[in-house]
């Protein structure tokens, strides 16, 4: 997919573990793992909002578009 999830990079910058973020945003670590691995088909605005709130970042910091054509 052309949309790349760079959640791991933000987590490393904020020195936060994925399990910690999962707990803060109220989703299971398994679901966060689906999101990190790029297997997710969609992301809710509420989830994106919570991630940005706790990682103190913009949606564009974790969602990147790369042209694969």
């Amino acid at each position: 997919m052309a949309i790349i999830i760079e959640l791991d990079v933000m987590l490393a910058k904020r020195k936060m573990k994925s399990t910690e973020l999962a707990e803060l945003i109220g989703i299971t670590p398994q679901n966060l793992s689906v999101l990190r691995s790029g297997r997710a088909k969609a992301i809710r605005f509420s989830t994106l909002n919570a991630i940005c709130q706790h990682l103190k970042c913009e949606p564009g910091d974790i969602l990147l578009y790369k042209d694969q054509a």
Partner: protein, 162 residues
């Protein structure tokens, strides 16, 4: 008798339970099979054996796929690829049943004539209400399978929405 007594296009198997009570199992052939039953009986063959054993095949397949489907429901697997495969297999069985119902009497007559065992057994090809019922059931099951396939895709999508 293994396949019961032949009574007016029906096979009736009466099971006596030690004189206390009895059970009756009936197999009746409809459409072209009914005509072939009389012809085979008149020619001295056992229609219950020739037609009954083949007629039971679609039922076996349908019960097998229903058993698989209900086993999946029992395991709380409702929207999976295996569910709609079971439903589409039942639809295929119904469509195959039309072919069987139409051409098996002709095949039986052909084999008996080639073998020289029953030259008086006629070639019968009838597209009757029985075949139309199979076609209708096949289409209904195919539609259910199609809806289930889309439901499975929606379920997968919902699961992968974070």
């Amino acid at each position: 008798m293994m396949f019961g007594e032949y009574v007016g296009n029906e096979y009736v198997l009466r099971i006596d339970w030690w004189g206390l009570f009895y059970s009756i199992l009936k197999v009746d052939f409809s459409g072209s099979w009914s005509l072939l039953t009389s012809s085979l009986h008149a020619a001295g063959f056992h229609p219950g054996l020739i037609l009954g054993t083949v007629e039971i095949l679609p039922y076996i397949f349908i019960y097998y796929f229903l058993y698989k489907l209900f086993s999946l429901y029992q395991q709380r697997k409702i929207f999976t690829a295996r569910n709609f495969k079971c439903l589409s297999s039942i639809a295929v069985v119904f469509i195959a049943w039309i072919v069987l119902s139409l051409f098996y009497p002709m095949l039986v007559a052909f084999i008996l004539r080639v073998a020289g065992l029953g030259n008086e057994v006629p070639y019968i090809l009838i597209l009757g209400d029985q075949e139309l019922k199979y076609a209708l059931l096949g289409m209904i099951f195919y539609c259910i399978a199609w809806v289930m396939r889309h439901a499975t895709e929606l379920e997968e999508e919902a699961e992968l929405t974070i």
